[in-house]
């Protein structure tokens, strides 16, 4: 599963970099463009997303056992389709990404990942990365048997 993403500078509107204090997340990989990195291992992990024309940064998953949301960073597509998330009224969102990270491997993402947003009892929104069974290729590459659902491609 995906444990981090990186987003090229050109993917984020300049005005939003300041608003969300994204400059703290700037990384330069070699001589490449500036990128913004979002890792699940952070103390308060967050993810960028586009939802109904708005760029937002929301908490990535949930670690709080008391707010009635699944304690996870991911939402399996099978459970979503089976209706297990129905009571939370999940909304599908687009998580822009240039690269994603899984078990120590950074790999290219052409457009971005799919995610779902749900709201906890304190009306705080959380985003979960949508996942599916990994393809053979993805499993060999990352040694993970689940992969994120990507927009317009399957790795």
């Amino acid at each position: 599963m995906c444990q981090g993403i990186a987003l090229s500078q050109c993917e984020i509107p300049e005005s939003l970099i300041e608003r969300y204090e994204l400059s703290e997340r700037i990384i330069r990989r070699g001589e490449g463009d500036i990128e913004f990195r979002f890792l699940l291992a952070e103390r308060l992990p967050v993810l960028p997303l586009w939802h109904e024309g708005q760029f937002l940064i929301l908490s990535w998953g949930n670690r709080d056992r008391h707010n009635k949301l699944p304690v996870s960073a991911w939402c399996s597509q099978e459970s979503l389709e089976a209706g297990a998330w129905h009571h939370l009224r999940p909304r599908e969102v687009f998580i822009p990404a240039s690269f994603a990270w899984d078990r120590g491997v950074w790999y290219q993402v052409r457009e971005g990942l799919k995610g779902v947003v749900v709201t906890d009892c304190e009306r705080k929104q959380h985003v979960y990365v949508l996942t599916q069974p990994a393809t053979h290729y993805y499993e060999v590459m990352t040694r993970n048997n689940r992969e994120p659902v990507m927009v317009g491609e399957t790795i």
């Binding site: 490449g32 240039s98 120590g104 491997v105 290219q108 053979h136 499993e139 060999v140 590459m141 040694r143």
Partner: protein, 423 residues
């Protein structure tokens, strides 16, 4: 004797990575590895990844430890072929003779370059390099020499993004240059040949051309002798604008991990028969001898062949032939990791005198398979695939490989880029 027409060699700099950077600019300037073999190993790398110490062929789990910041990309030979053919088009525009040596290397007659671009040969080659970058987006290195060997040496030693016009060097410069290149760098001198040469104190290219020609021929056969002439500046290997006819055509490779499941093994046979027939169709040939080679991780593997009475490209017949060989290999319950299907004794279709009798092959259970009863379906499949796309219709027997067929990049491999001189 020196040739009048200088030969150019154009070599893309880290081609697969450069091709990915054309469509994904965010990959520029960062360490990038292109993965092959079902995502298991690095088949191409950027200079940044090379500088970090990652070599081609390294498994991904080692590469990520050596360079944790590297970004890995899935190979896409369809896209690489698009850019490769664009490079050919640009070259064909400035040269009367172009050889499609490999997906990222081309030889060409460089005599027209100064006239097309103006200036000296070196200046013209620099302009060609810029044009390639502007029109295709791929950085290339160019070598110019009196022979293909010299031209290739020139491009190899000017990488990355350099130009080397060796035929413009003075004799002294030329000797210094040849002295600086270890003999093992020569295209055509492998590890074993290098050891042989070094045992006779031939360490660099200058030593090589100063050695006696007959001695080189004795040591490295006529191929070594041709290399000796080419390094002297005499063109022996001419620019080939079309590929010589194949002696054999092969398809196959890794099964994406080992499998002992009989249905999957059979499905791989059928998939590779489809690929083999497609390649035979491209070259317009039928074959009479068919070989199957299996790699089994836990033993020595297996190889076998069948010679038919008549040349054929019949799908049903070849499926029966190869499936019977698979059964004969006693691979049931034994894991297979690689499979290769080889067609030999090739004949051009137009040259075949069709027999009045049907080509028949008896399967292991004695059932006769004849060619004529099945060709209508195969022809229809071929016509649809030519129109709609490669493998749009394929045998239902390959349905046991859903993971492979769910991934469309598996439909296209480096050997499917047709017309190249070498792999």
């Amino acid at each position: 004797m020196k040739t009048a027409s200088p030969i150019g060699h154009l070599d893309s700099d880290c081609f697969y990575v450069s091709a990915e950077r054309v469509r994904f600019p965010c990959l520029r300037g960062i360490p990038v590895g292109v993965l092959g073999n079902q995502g298991a190993c690095v088949i191409a790398k950027s200079y940044e990844l090379k500088a970090a110490g990652v070599k081609t062929g390294v498994p991904i789990w080692e590469a990520r430890k050596i360079c944790p910041e590297a970004v890995f990309v899935k190979r896409d030979f369809r896209w690489y072929e698009v850019l490769s053919r664009k490079m050919l088009d640009v070259l064909a525009d400035v040269s009367p003779l172009v050889e499609y040596y490999s997906i990222d290397e081309m030889f060409f007659d460089a005599s027209e370059l100064p006239r097309v671009f103006g200036g000296s040969m070196r200046e013209a080659a620099l302009q060609l390099q810029q044009r390639m970058l502007q029109e295709v987006g791929v950085p290339v290195s160019i070598g110019i020499g009196e022979s293909k060997t010299m031209a290739k040496l020139g491009s190899d030693t000017s990488k990355p993004f350099g130009v080397h016009a060796l035929h413009e060097l003075t004799d002294k410069q030329r000797f210094d240059y040849l002295r600086s290149i270890p003999v093992g760098e020569l295209c055509g001198v492998g590890k074993r040949s290098q050891v042989k040469l070094e045992q006779h104190r031939i360490f660099n290219c200058l030593d090589f051309i100063r050695a006696d020609r007959k001695f080189i021929q004795k040591l490295l056969t006529i191929k070594g002798e041709a290399l000796w002439y080419e390094l002297q500046g005499e063109s022996i290997n001419k620019i080939a604008t079309s590929r010589p006819p194949h002696k054999a055509i092969s398809r196959g490779g890794s099964l994406g991990g080992k499998t002992a499941i009989a249905k999957q093994q059979h499905a791989w046979v059928v998939r590779n028969v489809e690929r083999l027939i497609e390649a035979m169709d491209f070259h317009g040939v039928f074959a009479r001898k068919f070989s199957l080679s299996l790699e089994r991780p836990n033993d020595y593997g297996w190889g076998g062949h069948v010679v038919l009475s008549e040349p054929t490209n019949s799908f049903k017949l070849l499926c029966a032939v190869f499936r019977e060989m698979l059964d004969r290999s006693d691979s049931r319950d034994k894991a297979i990791s690689h499979m290769h299907l080889i067609a030999e004794k090739l004949s051009y279709r137009s040259e075949i005198q069709r027999t009045l009798f049907e080509t028949t092959y008896s399967t292991h259970d004695g059932r006769p398979i004849t060619e004529s009863s099945i060709d209508q379906l195969a022809t229809l499949k071929q016509q649809i695939n030519q129109k709609v796309g490669r493998f749009a219709i394929r045998s239902g027997e390959t349905l046991h490989l859903p993971e492979i067929y769910a991934d469309e990049t598996n439909d296209y491999d480096i050997c499917d880029v047709q017309g190249k001189m070498c792999f």
